[in-house]
Amino acid sequence: MGNLLWSPLDPAHINDPYLMYKRLRHESPVYRSQTGEYIITRYADVKSILKNTDYRTGNRLEWLSRGITYFKNRDEDFTDIYKAINSFILFLNAPDHGPIRNMVVKAWSDREVHEMITTTADEILKDLNGTFDLVNDYARELPAIVIARIMGIPMNDYRYLQKLGVSMISSLNLYHSWKDFVELNEASALFVKYFAELLDAKQKNPDRGLVSRLLAANEKEKLLRQEQLISVLIFLFVAGEETTGASIGTSLRNIIQHDIKYNGNVDELFRFDPVVQILGRITKTDSIVNGVNIPANSALTLVVGSANRDESQFPNPDIIDVNRSAGQHLSFGYGTHFCLGEWLGKLQTQIAIERFFIAFKDITIPDQNIEWNTNLSVRVMKSLIVNAKK
C-alpha cells in the first residue's frame, strides 16, 4: 500500500494521519482516491468549498440511503438507519437546513451552563486518583452527563445512550462494511425507540430541558414530522457527547504528552488535533478545484485535519504554540454548516482541562501505544491510562 497516497483506514495513519496529509498537500492537493472521491487537503481549498453553497452536503446520508435500497433487494432491512439519521443537521441542504437549524438555535436559548459543567467535572474528578482511564472515566463521562442535563434526559439513561452513540457516530465514517450496517441499524432502532418514548414523556410532563423546548417550538412552527424531530434529537445527543468527549481526551493527552504550558488557548489545541478530521461535500455542477476538473455529482472529502496543518496558513504547523492565534482553524467547519454546538464544545473542553489540572499533579502516561477507533471521520482514543496524584 506504500504507493497509495490515501490509506485512511491504516491504523498507523489513524494514530498519526498528519504525515499522510502532508504528502497529499505537497504532491497532490486534489487527489482522486482509489474509490473515486476527491481528497482535498489544502487550507484555502477546503475553506473555499465549505464557504460555497454550490457544493451540497450529505455524502454519507446519500450513500447509506442508496445502501438501504440496494440491500432491500437482498432481503436485508436497514431502514432504521434512515429513520435515525434523516435529519442529522450536518447532512441537510437548502431549503430544509436553514429553518431546522434556526429552530434548534432559537430553542437552545439557555446557555448559562458554565457552573453546571464545572460542578459536573468536579464531581467526576473527586472519585478519581492514581491510575485511571482518562478517556472513559473522565473525558467521555463529562459531556454525556452535560448533554443529558441540557436536553432533559434522565440521569439513569445517559450511559445506555452513550454506548449506542459509539455505533451511531459510525454513520459519519468514510467507508462502511456489512458489520457497520448491521450495528448501525441496531443502534438506530434503539435510539429511535428511546427518543419516541422520551417525546411522549415530555409531552405529558414538559420541563425546561431542550427536548421539551424543541417539542414546543415544533408544535408552534409545524416544521418537522415526528420522525424528523427524533432524528434531530439523536443528532444533538450524539454530536454533543461523542465529539466533545474525544476533544477533551485528545486535548488533555496533547498537553500532558508535549508538556505544554497551557494558557487557555483552546483553539490551538483544536487546530493541532481536531476530532472531526473529515467533512464531505458533493459537487452540484462541473467544478474546478485548484486547477483540477471535477465532474458534477462527485464526492469530495475535505480533510480538515490537513487544512489545520497547512504551512501556508499556520507557520510551523506541527508544533503546539499556545501563543499562536489559531482561531482560523476549520475544526468546527465553516460557513452555513458551522458547528452549532461549537460554543458548548469549546466551553466544556476549556473547563474540563482547567478542572483536571486543578485536581491533579504529576500526571504521566505510562504506555504511549494508544489505541484509536477505526476511522478518521471522528477520531477518538479508545482509552488512555494515566497516573496522577492529588
Binding site: 497509495l4 483506514l9 482509489q34 474509490t35 450513500w63 440496494y70 462494511s177 456489512w178 458489520k179 477505526t374
Partner: protein, 85 residues
C-alpha cells in the same frame, strides 16, 4: 484461516469470481481475473457483501478500502494470501 493455508492463489481467485458473478449477475466464465473491479461492474455498495462473504468464509478481517487498494480479483487474492496466510 485454516482453509486459507491450504488454498492456492487460483482457488481464491475462483472464489472471488464466483462472488462477483453472484453480485453482478454475470457468468463466472466471463470474468477476467485481471480486470478492474470497476470495469466488472462493482461499486462501493456491491463490494460490501463480497467483502463480508470473504471475511466469513476465511475468517479474515478486511477493511472496505482493501478491496479498492487491490482492485482486481488477482491482486486482491494475492493481498489476502500474503496478508493473512
Amino acid at each position: 484461516m485454516l482453509i486459507l493455508d491450504f488454498m492456492t492463489h487460483q482457488e481464491l481467485i475462483n472464489f472471488i469470481k464466483k462472488e462477483i458473478a453472484t453480485e453482478t449477475g454475470t457468468a463466472v466464465e466471463s470474468i477476467d481475473a485481471n480486470a478492474s473491479f470497476h470495469s466488472l461492474g462493482l461499486d462501493s455498495l456491491s463490494a460490501v457483501l463480497i467483502l463480508y462473504n470473504i471475511e466469513k468464509e476465511f475468517g479474515v478481517e478486511l477493511n472496505p478500502l482493501n478491496f479498492w487498494d487491490y482492485p482486481t480479483p488477482s491482486k486482491f487474492a494475492d493481498f489476502i494470501l500474503k496478508g493473512h496466510g
